[in-house]
């Protein structure tokens, strides 16, 4: 996994030079295998172990740096313009016909999320944006994506990819108008259903595949890859941003069944952050509004089918105090015991 130390500086004020940072991250358990480039263009090749999905993104590594160097960590706070504002995107293609919507129209009235498989999908969040202009991303976004070997596509797809590399949560942008029936269903595939994924490959779905579907057809292989027919194209006017949390086993099984390993499936398999779905959706929405214009349509949708509680961490105080002893000078010392 590629990482740009310069990008980390968005969140933490690092002053160490890249080589020293690489060594110290490695000694902290986040291994830097190779360092290439110099100065701001330095790139780290990371080897993140399976147990550290939190470190598979820039914000996670920044969090680690904040702990290592005792520096403050800046939060990601997406500032979303209210639904009424937002100019058409610069680029001179002329204003798109954004349909005038009643202020505060509830999305729930016109769009619904139904989770039919709570085991497979405990949480599904969505935000909608109307009246976007799809074109290339701003230069800063392109440059950041290229620094970690990602291919820029268009401003909406790039926004989703940028958020993944920034904060680690996989999201997906659908062309809202191509979702039939005004609803999203999260369910297992029915026997015989097929899906063309965005890589252009037609896939036969198995009844064990967890999919995102609209009222009529599968539109994505959940947590793995979106569908070809509903992807963002230059003609897209309206977007639905998916930000969800899928069961790691379900994602892994689909990924292996279809031999499709993606940045998204990699993170869902190892455990994405159940509590980050809303923040990720907001971040992607902000990026799209900034680069593609348009406006938010209605409130965020957040359906929780199954609560995932954080497991408590037990500390046996007896184990801690039993390894305490007094040094000859009278200070309390601690021997290196494993708990």
């Amino acid at each position: 996994m590629k990482l740009s130390p310069q990008w980390l500086r968005d969140f933490v004020d690092l002053t160490v030079d890249p080589q020293r940072l690489a060594d110290e991250l490695t000694l902290a358990g986040i291994a830097v295998e190779a360092v290439s480039g110099t100065g701001d263009a330095t790139v780290f090749e990371m080897e993140i172990t399976t147990n550290r999905p939190d470190a598979m993104n820039h914000y996670g590594v920044a969090r680690e740096c904040s702990a290592l160097y005792d520096l403050p960590l800046k939060a990601i706070v997406p500032r979303l313009a209210s639904a009424a504002k937002s100019n058409p995107a610069a680029g001179g293609e002329g204003a798109r016909n954004a349909r005038a919507l009643p202020q505060g129209a509830s999305s729930a009235a016109s769009f619904s999320i139904q989770i039919e498989d709570p085991e497979g999908c405990p949480r599904y969040g969505a935000r909608m944006i109307r009246g976007v202009t799809i074109q290339s991303s701003p230069e800063a976004i392109i440059q950041r994506l290229q620094s970690v070997d990602q291919r820029p596509i268009n401003n909406a797809a790039d926004a989703s990819n940028y958020a993944l590399w920034e904060m680690g949560h996989p999201t997906h942008a659908f062309d809202l108008d191509l979702l039939e029936g005004g609803r999203i269903k999260v369910r297992r595939a029915a026997a015989g259903e097929t899906l063309r994924t965005i890589d252009g490959v037609d896939r036969k779905l198995s009844p064990e595949d967890l999919i995102i579907a609209d009222a009529k057809k599968p539109v994505a292989l959940a947590g793995v890859m979106g569908g070809f027919d509903t992807m963002i194209t230059p003609k897209t006017n309206n977007i639905l941003i998916e930000s969800a949390w899928f069961d790691p086993v379900a994602v892994r099984q689909s990924s292996r069944r279809h031999a499709l390993h993606t940045d998204a499936s990699h993170r869902f398999e190892r455990g994405a952050d159940y509590g980050a779905t809303s923040l990720a959706g907001a971040r992607v929405a902000q990026l799209i509004l900034e680069s593609a214009g348009g406006q938010l349509w209605g409130d965020e949708l957040d359906v929780i089918a199954r609560a995932i509680d954080q497991a408590p961490v037990e500390l046996r105080v007896s184990q801690v105090t039993s390894s305490r002893y007094r040094s000859p000078a009278g200070d309390w010392m601690w021997s290196a015991r494993s708990i």
Partner: protein
Amino acid sequence: MPSESLIREAKDPDQHPMPYSVPKLKDFSTKALDKAADKLLAALAVESEAVKNADGLKAFRDRWMARKDGVLTQINDLWLKAAPKEAKREVGQRVNELKSAVTQAVEACQPGRAKTSISVNAPLEPALDITLPGIRRPLGAEHPVIKTMNEIVSVFRNLGYSVEEGPEIETDYYNFEALNFPANHPARDTQDTLMIAGQESKLAQDRLLLRTHTSPVQIRTMQKQPPPVRVVCPGKVHRNDAPDATHSPIFHQVEGLAVDTNITFCDLKGTLDHAMKALFGSSVKTRFYPSFFPFTEPSADVQISCIFCDGKGTRDGAPCRNCKASGWIELLGCGMVDPNVLGFVGYDPKKLSGFAFGMGVERIAILKYGVDDIQLFFQGDVRFLEQFC
């Protein structure tokens, strides 16, 4: 009309036989030479038989071996000297053979010797030289991988560890599940397992595979004995890796396990630091940093200071290739045994703790012996292997 002497000789077999005269050779081909040699030997045999007394012997000898006109001189003149350049070698050989045959025949006729007839086809081989030394069979020697493995094992033996071995074909249970790799967990991907075909009808945990590490032996050991445990488990392991200069689908590991009531991370560090010094020399340093294995918590990777550049990172002014200029070489994985693993074997994690470690034998052999390609260990080329005798 034949001369009287000739007729007389032919009629009287008791008389001396017609003396052999050397014919001139026109044809020096092998066939012609054979023919001429045979005729000579036949005549020799007949004449030597006819020698009955001392006078006869003298005459016989003079006829054949006299310097002036003896048969041997004649064949030298008429056959060898007359031979064309390309035939000289062969003719010369024949002449020598005939010379020794004649000498032998004459010797055999000496009084006091049993008269032995000479067979026309007497083989003229060199006699067996019994003073030559016998042909020795070369002794075998330890393969460098086995040699290294034994060296590593003996370091731990000296610390009081026993040796345990186990099967190379393992079940999914022993290779993964009992080592805290849950079913369908991505940590399994780190091992590139070779599965045995045709196992679909079995329960997942019973499916057979080629073991990817020798850790299953640790589980088997803990299952068959109560604590405390001090074992090393050497053996062959298999991974689905394409072979190249640093990877092989078959390689060897030595893993170790110590479980007791009072084992700490300090003990792990001390044991491995000592072991590395024992293997690479007392000036080598070790450093530990966090890593991840499902069966240990916390887990660590261990590096030794580069033995080629003394941990400096540079050698003769240039960056050290062996440690990529970092001064450190990664060699081992280790950690404190995860309480879940103790639970799987029926040990009480509240009362017991332990550490485990593992290292690749080929990797250590490559460092110790300066081998640059792991494939050399598996190709069976004697020119490579005999350097380790």
